[in-house]
C-alpha cells in the first residue's frame, strides 16, 4: 500500500510536469489494482477520480492544458522538420488554449505527403489506417509509445472495470491495425485476461469462435461496427441467440454505431455493455467514450480537443457543428506527433454542461460522420449519422447498412442496397426522422453491394477454413 502510494506519486508527478513516464511503474500500478481487486473484491474510495485523472477541476485543467500544450509545441518546433517549418514566424510565447488558433491545423494530406518530416524520435512499429475514407496513412510509433499506451489503457480499463482478470477477448480487428491489435493483446496480458486475435476473417468463422467450441467462450468482443454487423447477420442466419454466447461486453469503434445497432447486438449476442469508443491511429493514445446520454467524452489527460466551426475554422460556439481537432500531448506521443490534427470528423458542441455519469470529462456530441459528407439540402443540413440512425434496423435491410447519400439540385438522394426493402419503406423511415429524400433501392447481391458501398468490414482476410482464397 505504501509502495503503491509512492508509485502513484511518481506517475502523477511525471504527468503533471510532462516528463516521460516510467512504463514499469504504470505496469506495476495495473498489478496493484488487480491485487486490490483480489484482496477487497472492489477498488477503494474515489476510484473515479483516479481514473479520470487530475483534470476534474476546470481551472486546474486549463492550467495543466496550457502547460502541456506549451511543452508539446516547443518540442515539435525543435524536433519535427514539418512543424519547424510550420511554426516558423508564429509567436509561441506563453501559448494557451485561447492562442493555440495561431497555429494552422494539420490535415491527413500533410501526413500522407510528408510522413518522414513528422518523425521526432526513433521509430519502432509502423501502423496503418484502413484507408476506408481515402489513402491510408502510415504512422510510426516508438518502442516507448508501444509499451506506455497499453499500460495506461490497462490501468484505465481495470479502474473502470471494463476488463477483468479471467476475461477472454476476441479481437476482430484488421491485421493492418497493428498498433490497436498489439495494444489489446498487451492490455489482456497485463490484466490477466486472455485474448484471441481472430482478425477480419469471414464473419461466420468469427461467430464460431465466439461459441467457444474449441475451449473457452469469449467474454469480450472488439471490432469495427460494420464487421460486427456482418457477424450479427451471420449469427442470426445460423439461428444463434444470446444464450449461445458468453459475451459481457462488445467494444466497437471507427464507424457510426446507431441505437438500433446497439439493440441488435444486445439481442443477438446477449452482451450487456456495448461500448462505442473513439480512437484514431493518428491520435493514439487520445481516445473517447460514449456515455448513456450519447455524448462523446474525450480524455483530456493525454490531449487537447477542439471543435472548429465549419464556416469560420475558429472554435465552435455552443450547439454548433464543427470538425474535431486534437493535439496529443508529449510525453504520451513522442515518435510521430501531430499538432491540431483535424480529424475531419463532424461533431456538435454541447449546448451547456453535460449532465451524465461522465460529466467530469469534457464532451461533445457523438461523431456525426465526416465533415466532407455533410449533406446541405435547400432546406436543411443532414448529417451522415442521421441517415444511418434512420435506416439502421429497417425491416428487410441487412446489417451492415450499405448506402450512399448525396445532394443534387438541393435535394437529398439516398441509395441503399437491399433485396427486400422498398423505396417507400425507406422513404417513410427517413421521413419519420424529418429527412426528406429521394430514395433508390438497389437489389444488389452482397458482393456487388460491397463493391458499390465499401465499408471497413470489406477489408476481409482469407482463411483456409471456409473462404475461397
Amino acid at each position: 500500500m505504501l509502495e503503491t502510494g509512492v508509485r502513484q506519486v511518481r506517475v502523477a508527478m511525471a504527468m503533471v510536469f510532462g516528463r516521460r513516464l516510467n512504463v514499469r511503474a504504470v505496469e506495476r500500478l495495473v498489478a496493484d489494482a488487480l491485487a486490490t481487486l483480489e484482496e477487497f473484491g472492489s477498488l477503494g474510495d474515489d476510484v473515479d477520480e483516479l481514473a479520470d485523472g487530475p483534470f476534474a477541476d476546470p481551472a486546474e485543467r486549463r492550467d495543466l492544458q496550457n502547460r502541456a500544450l506549451q511543452r508539446t509545441v516547443s518540442r515539435l518546433a525543435k524536433r519535427s522538420p514539418f512543424y519547424r517549418e510550420r511554426l516558423a514566424g508564429i509567436d509561441l510565447d506563453g501559448l494557451t488554449t485561447e492562442t493555440l488558433t495561431r497555429i494552422p491545423v494539420t490535415r491527413k494530406a500533410d501526413l500522407i505527403e510528408r510522413p518522414a518530416d513528422f518523425l521526432c524520435s526513433a521509430p519502432y512499429l509502423a501502423t496503418q489506417t484502413t484507408g476506408t475514407t481515402g489513402r491510408p496513412v502510415q504512422m510510426w510509433l516508438s518502442r516507448y509509445e508501444m509499451e506506455l499506451w497499453p499500460a495506461l489503457i490497462a490501468l484505465s480499463v481495470v479502474l473502470r472495470g471494463d476488463i477483468r482478470p479471467g476475461d477472454r477477448m476476441q479481437i476482430n480487428l484488421s491485421s493492418r491495425a497493428t498498433a490497436a491489435v498489439q495494444e489489446d493483446v498487451e492490455v489482456c496480458r497485463m490484466v490477466n485476461a486472455s485474448c484471441h486475435v481472430v482478425g477480419q476473417v469471414p464473419p461466420e468463422e468469427s461467430v464460431e469462435h465466439l461459441l467457444g467450441r474449441n475451449g473457452t467462450r469469449p467474454t469480450l468482443l472488439t471490432g469495427n461496427p460494420s464487421y460486427l454487423a456482418r457477424m450479427l447477420t451471420a449469427a442470426r442466419q445460423r439461428g444463434y441467440g444470446p444464450d449461445d454466447f458468453g459475451l459481457r461486453a462488445i467494444y466497437a469503434g471507427g464507424e457510426i454505431v446507431s441505437p438500433a445497432f446497439v439493440r441488435a447486438l444486445r439481442e443477438t449476442f446477449g452482451a450487456e455493455t456495448i461500448g462505442d469508443n473513439f480512437g484514431m491511429t493518428e491520435l493514439l493514445p487520445v481516445g473517447g467514450r460514449t456515455c448513456s446520454r450519447r455524448h462523446l467524452h474525450i480524455d483530456p489527460n493525454m490531449g487537447y480537443t477542439e471543435v472548429l466551426d465549419l464556416e469560420t475554422g475558429e472554435p465552435a460556439g455552443p450547439g454548433r457543428l464543427g470538425e474535431l481537432t486534437v493535439t496529443p500531448y508529449y510525453p504520451y506521443r513522442e515518435c510521430m506527433p501531430v499538432l491540431r490534427y483535424n480529424t475531419g470528423d463532424l461533431v456538435r458542441t454541447l449546448d451547456g454542461e453535460p449532465d451524465c455519469e461522465l460529466a467530469a470529462v469534457p464532451a461533445v456530441s457523438q461523431i456525426l460522420g465526416k465533415a466532407g459528407s455533410l449533406l446541405r439540402t435547400a432546406d436543411s443540413v443532414v448529417t451522415p449519422r442521421e441517415i444511418v440512425e434512420a435506416l439502421d434496423g429497417t425491416p428487410g435491410m441487412p446489417w451492415p447498412l450499405r448506402h450512399r447519400a448525396a445532394v443534387a439540385d438541393g435535394r437529398l438522394h439516398v441509395e441503399v442496397a437491399s433485396r427486400d426493402a422498398t423505396a417507400a419503406e425507406v422513404t417513410e423511415r427517413l421521413l419519420a426522422r424529418g429527412i426528406e429524400a429521394r430514395v433508390t433501392v438497389l437489389p444488389l447481391d452482397d458482393e456487388e453491394a460491397a463493391r458499390r458501398f465499401p465499408l471497413r468490414c470489406d477489408l476481409l482476410e482469407h482463411t483456409f477454413t471456409r473462404s475461397h482464397a
Binding site: 505504501l2 503503491t4 496493484d32 473484491g41 473457452t216 467462450r217 459481457r248
Partner: protein, 304 residues
Amino acid sequence: MTVFFQIAATAALALAVVVGTIAYFRAVRAARPPVGVFNGKDIFMMMGFVLALPYVYLALPGAVLPVVLALVFAGGLSVGYQPLIGNGRLRWALISVLIASVLVTHLAFGETAPPYWVANSCVVGLVVVSATNLNVQGGMRLKNVAWFLLLLAVYDAFFAWVVPLTQELAEAVQGYPYAPAAGLRIGEDLGAVVGMGDLLAYALFTTTAYKAYAKPGLRTGIALVVLFGAVAPVAALHLIAAATGDAPGLIPAQVFFGPAAFIGYLFLSRRGPERRMVDVPFRGNRAAAVRQAPVRSAEAHPVA
C-alpha cells in the same frame, strides 16, 4: 505482589487494546485508497520508519517532543475515527478534549499519578486501535506481520542491549506528557508500563490472525499476547533481578513476542491460505457494506 500486578496490568492493557481493535475491525470499515494492498515491501518501509523515528524524536529539543507527539496522536485519531464520527467538528472537539485531558492531568497531578496514566493510556490505546485497523484493513497479511515482528525483535534487542537507544528515548520523554506508552501506577511500588510499539505489535498480530484465520487465529493471537507479551517479559525482568540482584532498566518485550508470533504464524498457516478482506464478514453499516460487496472476476466459461 509487584510481579503479579505488573503481569495483570500489562495483560489487561494489551488485551484492552486487542479487544478494542477487533471490535473496530468487526464494526467499522476504514476509508481506503482507490488502489493499493499492504504487501511485503511495505514491511521494509515500515521498518525504515521504525528505525528512523527514534532518532528524529531524540533530535528534537525536549519541550518540542511532547508537542510533536500530541500532534501525531491528534492526527492519528482524526484519520482513524473519521468513519465512526463523520462530523469533523464533533470529531475534532472530542479529540481536543482527549488531548487536553492528558495535559491537564499531567499538570494537575504529575507524571506518575494514576489520572495522567489513565488519560494517556486512553489516547495511546485509541491511536493503536485506529493505526492497526488502517493497516490490517489495507490488506495487511499475517505473513507480513509475522516477518515484521521477527525483524522488530532483532531491532528491539539491538537497541536495548547493544545501542541503548530505547533507554535514551524513554528518558527523553520522562517528565513530559504524551508518553508513547500506556500504563498504570498505584502508589510508589506498583507500576507497569507498556510501550506504544509493543501494543501496536500485539494488536497487529491478533487482528491479522483474526482476519486470516477467524476465531482460531484470534485465540492463538490472544494466547501469545498474554504469554509472550505480558507474562514472559515481566517474569524475565524479575528473574534477572533475582538472579543478578540488579533490576534491568527495561526488557524489550518483542524479544519474546516476535519469535513467538512468527511460530504462531507458521502454526496457523498450516490451516490453509489466509482469508482476504473480501472473505471477512462485515457487520458494519449498510453503505460501507455495499462498497465492500465482492465483485467477482468474470470467468471465461469452458464449454463442453
